[in-house]
């Protein structure tokens, strides 16, 4: 539909601009706040333009220990977050690719049952099963470890379902052609299936990376050792001070840092991401 009415153009642009402003304003305020000294927030007004303490705040945030009982610097926590996010992302993608592959292309007993069991785990996100999962992880001695941070979050019904749909849309003739060409299960998986799912994998990567990066409850629960603290959960810890002022400028700077990797992933993979959502090469 192509409409050409000036007032419509105006209204739609106004709507879009308002939307952008609403989303961007908090980010802007965080950025501005990170350039004022911590004392600027006690007086009750919120600064809307840059102050002169930017270099100081950002230097402290980047290189000093985060403080408030967090004994490691922010960059170290970013590293932990990154390891966790990537672990979850790649783990989820690998597991769900394999399970979708099995469900779609292999005939084994109770195949449908398996699929529905996987599907039902959609109803059991980590928040629901957090106590038993904690128990299992603790018994396996995985508290305070990267394995403990990632493994319980890896199983993914959503991704399995997505890949299943993707695989089902691959024409049967193509599978048969590969069979005639002498491609066994592994060759078929790596030479045909993976390249054909490339865009779907990219789209999932973006979604799952953000999911992994933003994990809050689970890392909060199972890490007690500063060496495994992740960034998103630590922001909360940095807020809960008993003595003295809250260092709002540093917290805002940390928040901005916490937003960076997801933004980078989205921007970097935008093209593939959109392609993966709207079309397939088949």
């Amino acid at each position: 539909m192509i409409e050409n009415r000036p007032w419509l153009t105006f209204v739609s642009h106004a709507t879009l601009l308002t939307g952008i402003a609403l989303v961007a304003l908090p980010v802007w305020m965080a950025l501005v706040a990170s350039t004022h000294p911590a004392s600027a927030f006690g007086v009750g007004h919120i600064p809307l333009w840059f102050g002169d303490a930017g270099a100081e705040t950002w230097g402290a945030v980047l290189f000093d220990k985060a403080g408030n009982g967090v004994d490691v610097p922010v960059w170290f926590m970013m590293l932990n977050s990154l390891i966790m996010a990537l672990g979850i992302t790649f783990g989820k993608i690998a597991i769900s690719l394999l399970s979708a592959y099995a469900i779609v292309f292999f005939r084994f007993p109770f195949r449908n049952l398996c699929f529905w069991i996987i599907f039902m785990t959609l109803m059991l996100p980590v928040e629901v099963r957090i106590v038993p999962t904690y128990e299992v992880v603790a018994n396996l001695d995985l508290l305070n470890s990267y394995t403990g941070l990632t493994l319980p979050l890896i199983a993914s019904a959503t991704a399995t379902f997505l890949f299943r749909q993707c695989f089902l849309s691959i024409p049967g003739e193509l599978v048969e052609a590969a069979r005639m060409d002498g491609a066994g299960p592994w060759r078929f998986f790596f030479d045909i299936l993976l390249p054909l799912s490339r865009t779907n994998i990219a789209a999932l990567f973006v979604i799952l990376f953000i999911y992994g990066w933003n994990q809050y409850l689970w890392p909060l629960l199972i890490t007690t050792d500063d060496a495994y603290y992740t960034l998103v959960m630590s922001i909360k810890r940095m807020l809960s001070v008993t003595d003295g002022d809250i260092a709002w400028n540093q917290i805002m700077a940390t928040t901005l840092l916490a937003m960076l990797p997801p933004v980078a992933v989205v921007i970097g993979m935008q093209k593939l991401f959109v392609k993966g959502l709207v079309d397939s090469e088949k």
Binding site: P171, E173, E176, R179, D181, G182, D191, I192
Partner: protein, 355 residues
Amino acid sequence: MTDVILEKVGKTYPNGYHAIPSVDLSIEEGEFIVLVGPSGCGKSTLLRMVAGLESISTGELRIRGERMNEKEPADRDIAMVFQNYALYPHMTVYDNMAYGLKNRGMAKDLIAEKVSDVAAMLGLTELLQRKPRQLSGGQRQRVAMGRAMVRDPKVFLFDEPLSNLDAKLRVQMRVEIRQLQRKLGTTTLYVTHDQVEAMTLADRLVVLNKGKAEQIGTPMDLYNKPATPFVAAFIGSPSMNLLDAHLTEQGITVSDELTLPLSHPHRGAIVWGIRPEHLDVSDEHNADFALRIQAVESLGAETLIHGKVETTSGQGDAMVVRLSGPHLPDINSLMWLKAPAQYWHLFDAVTQQRL
């Protein structure tokens, strides 16, 4: 030398559907066999059993004397061209053609040599680095054939390979496939529902009807001596006029009142057939019967005249006459026709067998 033998090959699908009761067929080396029949008659099923994509429920398949029933498709030394080409969309034309050879562990330079030979033969040399989606339908078709040819198989299998092309390209590719097959001398099994394609390509045709091979023979065998009314109607365009009739001492009674003299030992209900091109225009005194003209299709080089056999009841059977050159008879007028006896086809109405 006999290349491919199907011995009482039958197929029952897992859902219990009995797609093919039993087919016997032996194919000579280098022969071009076309499986033809209406949609749903089991052509693809039979082809896919030969390919190994579908298990053989009963009977035995042998290629060069070796039993194939249990062999994987890749181990049967066959190559298949699919209806929708089934090219790997993410691979270049070169990789598409090379993939099967790579999987067989052939040396890289040998693969390159083979692919470029075949590409040259099919006029694909300029396209080798393109992806399938950058090709036209005809070019994709060619790549699919190239992929089969590089393998240098004992048997080519084609499943309706031209049905996605436009009419003109279809004719062109048909000729090309035939020439290539002659040149390579590879035994070929080709499936189509198009009888013109079947007639022009085949050394021998297998006409399938509901999973049964109605007749196996050369195109001219099938045209001149169809074994059943089904084959008679299927081969030839427009199809043969087939009329329910009775055979008595006087001859054949058509449309209840018209008698064509014939002495034949058979008695009872029969199907009487004559091809539209074998009916001759005649005059009132020499004619066998009259046709009340209902429609005329003028194609320039020939004219098809549709009408009804003229009877007192007005309930005569429908017939088609094919005349060469342009004719413009009036609708509803009468046309006097002669049906020369040497062109008659008689079938038993009960057993459906040729008399």
